[in-house]
């Protein structure tokens, strides 16, 4: 039995499940901020939100699948667990880093927009 193929199957199930679940949560909870940024134009905000979600899926699932070609040779069960968790950990850390970047971007954008609206009104 080839351990590497086992690894790929477990890894892809875990990561794709995490990516889709987290994407859904971001999509639902980030909507408020995008609506606020688009000045309550909710149809425009929803379409933008959907496009961002698709881009997120493409980038992350693409990254997860590319990892197959950089996998070490796995020979036993311990190495299986450690390599899968190592790769999953890197992917989740990247997700976390981009997530905090996004929070920061939303924060600066909202600060700017409230500044503009308070100036014009």
């Amino acid at each position: 039995m080839n351990y590497n193929i086992f690894c790929y199957i477990i890894y892809s199930i875990i990561t794709i499940y995490i990516i889709i679940w987290v994407g859904k949560l971001f999509h639902r909870n980030g909507r408020v901020f995008i609506v606020k940024l688009f000045n309550d134009n909710s149809s425009l905000a929803d379409t933008t939100n959907n496009i961002i979600l698709v881009a997120y899926y493409l980038f992350n699932i693409g990254y997860a699948v590319i990892q197959f070609s950089f996998w070490e040779q796995v020979t036993n069960a311990g190495q299986l667990i450690s390599s899968v968790s190592n790769k999953t950990g890197i992917l989740i850390l990247i997700l976390a880093a981009t997530h905090y970047c996004n929070i920061f971007i939303i924060y600066t954008l909202s600060k700017k927009s409230t500044f503009i609206t308070s100036k014009t009104s």
Partner: protein, 137 residues
């Protein structure tokens, strides 16, 4: 020998996940109060921000926990396995504590910024209108 490493992994994973779940649950159950304070009682946006921070917390900590799982020692006995596990779990728990304080710092900072924003723009407007009224009269 191989089995001991696998056993160590299988002990490590549930401990780490339960620890992360417990800390995140406690932190974000209580942080909704700060969020409501920051966003002036706007329920929807406070809840959304709280959930976003919660997801970020989970991602960062579980990612780090999975990243440091690998045991590099070649030969291992029961005592060595327990020592390695203690090192990893203890280190991770200290890391969790640091992250907890970082998130609390973010909440307090948000609270301070919200208070300044609330107070600061009104002051010059009032002052300028006062000056205009003085000139007119």
């Amino acid at each position: 020998m191989k089995n001991l490493i696998v056993t160590a992994y299988l002990v490590y994973l549930p401990i780490v996940m339960l620890l992360t779940y417990y800390v995140a649950h406690q932190l974000f159950k209580n942080s909704i109060v700060y969020m409501k304070d920051i966003f002036n009682g706007r329920e929807e946006i406070a809840k959304a921000t709280n959930t976003l921070f919660k997801i970020g917390f989970y991602l960062m900590n579980l990612g780090f926990a999975l990243y440091i799982l690998k045991i590099t020692a070649e030969k291992i006995n029961t005592q060595g396995a327990i020592e390695i596990l203690s090192m990893k779990v203890g280190g991770f728990s200290i890391y969790l504590g640091v992250m907890l304080f970082l998130n609390m710092y973010l909440f307090f900072r948000g609270k301070r910024v919200a208070r300044e924003k609330d107070w600061w723009p009104r002051f010059p407007i009032k002052l300028s209108s006062f000056v205009i009224i003085l000139i007119w009269s």
